[in-house]
């Protein structure tokens, strides 16, 4: 029995574009963000979800976390339909948006966490135990009394992770968590995610552009392009299959740039 089941997921958006002529004239176009995406994820898996900008990664995460309602298709996570049982569902998941903070800007981290405890109704004792655990694993000890706005990007991402894991979610969505981070912060973050996945059995779905993240963390990758799933399997297989498409200079690199692979895929599928 899989933990996440996604079947024939479709989501379209209507976009109004400004016409070349006319002051207020707008053209209505329908953009298919997701067209018929299906996959399953088992409990405790750590899956990489990659694809170029606009491929539909974030849309998938938003549907799976109950923010958006799809046009059609079925999603079940731990037996629940995210957008129908939003509150019950989100109690069991954590979401980190790489570009958007979930903490409060002007107050010390500890105050933010305390309010999150209230929001998720975490019992005081559980909260304290989890807080100790996370602040050690994420090396937050000295930052807890600092306001969020005074943290560096790497520190902030660690703080965000802590905030989204305080209620011990079964499932964690990470939307480009390493974006803009330096090498040291990236490594620390990867270590932590591995630890959380191994120790707590947390299922993690990671979207990223960073192939090293994927290589270090995920045994399984799903590639999304133009709203369709193009590949689902091991990273080595992905590279093996598209080895011919890689330019010479990328062949010597351990984890070649995924863009070449995706370009080759698009060509193959005539997209």
């Amino acid at each position: 029995m899989s933990y996440i089941t996604v079947e024939h997921l479709r989501k379209t958006f209507t976009v109004r574009k400004k016409k070349d002529r006319g002051f207020l004239a707008r053209e209505k176009t329908t953009v298919e963000a997701l067209k018929d995406v299906s996959f399953t994820v088992k409990q405790g898996e750590l899956v990489g979800y990659i694809g170029p900008n606009g491929a539909g990664k974030s849309t998938t995460v938003k549907v799976l976390s109950g923010i958006l309602t799809p046009d059609s298709g079925a999603v079940r996570i731990g037996g629940r339909v995210p957008w129908l049982e939003r509150k019950e569902h989100v109690r069991r998941i954590g979401v980190v948006f790489g570009q958007r903070t979930q903490l409060w800007w002007d107050v010390p981290l500890l105050d933010s966490y305390d309010l999150l405890r209230e929001i998720y109704r975490v019992p005081e004792a559980d909260f304290r135990r989890r807080m100790n655990e996370l602040s050690e694993a994420l090396d937050l000890g000295s930052l807890l009394r600092t306001p969020l706005r005074q943290l560096s990007l790497g520190q902030r991402m660690r703080a965000e992770l802590c905030g989204s894991l305080l209620h011990c979610p079964e499932l964690l969505f990470l939307d480009e968590p390493t974006i803009g981070l330096d090498a040291v912060s990236k490594l620390a973050l990867r270590d932590f995610l591995q630890w959380e996945n191994r120790e707590k059995g947390t299922t993690i779905l990671l979207t990223t552009h960073d192939m090293e993240d994927i290589a270090a963390l995920c045994r399984r990758v799903m590639v999304l392009g133009h709203g369709s799933k193009l590949f689902d399997g091991a990273l080595e297989d992905l590279y093996a299959r598209y080895r011919n498409a890689l330019p010479v200079q990328e062949l010597t690199v351990q984890y070649p740039n995924i863009d070449h692979v995706i370009a080759a895929m698009y060509q193959e599928l005539g997209l």
């Binding site: 958006f13 990664k57 974030s58 938003k62 976390s65 109950g66 923010i67 958006l68 309602t69 939003r86 509150k87 019950e88 989100v90 109690r91 998941i93 979401v95 948006f97 790489g98 570009q99 958007r100 903070t101 979930q102 409060w104 800007w105 002007d106 107050v107 105050d111 933010s112 305390d114 309010l115 209230e118 929001i119 998720y120 109704r121 306001p147 939307d175 480009e176």
Partner: protein, 266 residues
């Protein structure tokens, strides 16, 4: 119970956030005091020119004005999430972060902002009410005090409800819709004065659509001992409930709108 505690703690956090910049906070509060105080001075000058407005004496008018100010600015102070922050949350996609938490969206929006600077405006409103109360020689009693509290509480709900119309429209159109300001800010300005001085269409607007007249004016008139439309005491106690009815209706609208929410790019 837990929700109320969540709200109180959120407000504490919001106010502490604002006080992180004490100089800015003080200056802005002072600016609000000058603005609101100036408006009140202007009102005093105007009222000074009249002996009476319909049946209303100057003291009555100050009382009406003060009641409206206190109610409106209390709403802006503690309901800032709905009266101000919401359109911004929609435009930036910040609403996503609320949707991934196991609480109602409205309560979280409500908790997401406060505007403690409004304390200056509330103070001016209180001053106006006190002045009105003295000039009109209101004989305060327990029922009158209770009615005043009831009126302010349901006024709070009514104003929140009116801002929910804007919040709902924003979800559809993403950009803020100024149209609804005629009801919110327009309603506030118009209903600074008792409703019976206005022509019929406006009276209907502010009795049926945005029932400031029922929530604030009928109780105020009864407290002043001049029942509006000759309605009896029980009507004065019953009318403010219209605020809760409005809130309920506009909340239903908001719930419908929320289903159309479509977020922004990553």
């Amino acid at each position: 119970m837990n929700t109320i505690r969540l709200y109180c703690r959120s407000m504490g956090l919001q106010i502490r956030s604002q006080l992180q910049y004490p100089a800015s906070f003080l200056m802005q509060t002072l600016a609000q005091l000058v603005m609101e105080g100036g408006e009140f001075m202007a009102l005093m000058l105007v009222i000074d020119r009249f002996d009476r407005l319909n049946q209303w004496m100057p003291g009555d008018l100050f009382f009406f004005y003060g009641l409206m100010s206190v109610t409106f600015y209390l709403t802006e102070c503690f309901g800032r999430g709905i009266t101000g922050a919401f359109p911004y949350m929609i435009r930036t996609g910040q609403l996503d972060t609320l949707l991934v938490r196991p609480r109602g969206v409205l309560i979280q929006v409500f908790c997401s902002a406060a505007d403690p600077r409004r304390i200056a405006c509330i103070a001016v409103g209180v001053a106006s009410m006190v002045l009105g109360s003295i000039q009109a020689r209101i004989a305060w009693s327990l029922p009158k005090a209770l009615l005043l509290l009831e009126s302010i509480a349901f006024g709070f709900l009514l104003i929140l409800g009116l801002f929910l119309i804007e919040a709902s429209l924003v979800i559809w159109s993403v950009k803020s819709v100024e149209l609804t300001n005629t009801l919110t800010y327009g309603g506030r300005s118009a209903c600074d004065y008792p409703i019976d001085i206005y022509p019929r269409p406006l009276r209907i607007l502010f009795t049926v659509v945005a029932p400031f007249a029922l929530v604030l004016h009928v109780p105020a008139a009864w407290i002043l001992g001049k029942p509006l439309y000759g309605w009896p005491a029980w009507a004065a106690f019953l009318c403010p409930l219209a605020g809760a009815v409005s809130f309920g209706l506009f909340y239903a609208l908001f719930r419908r709108a929320l289903r159309h929410y479509r977020s922004t790019g990553s």
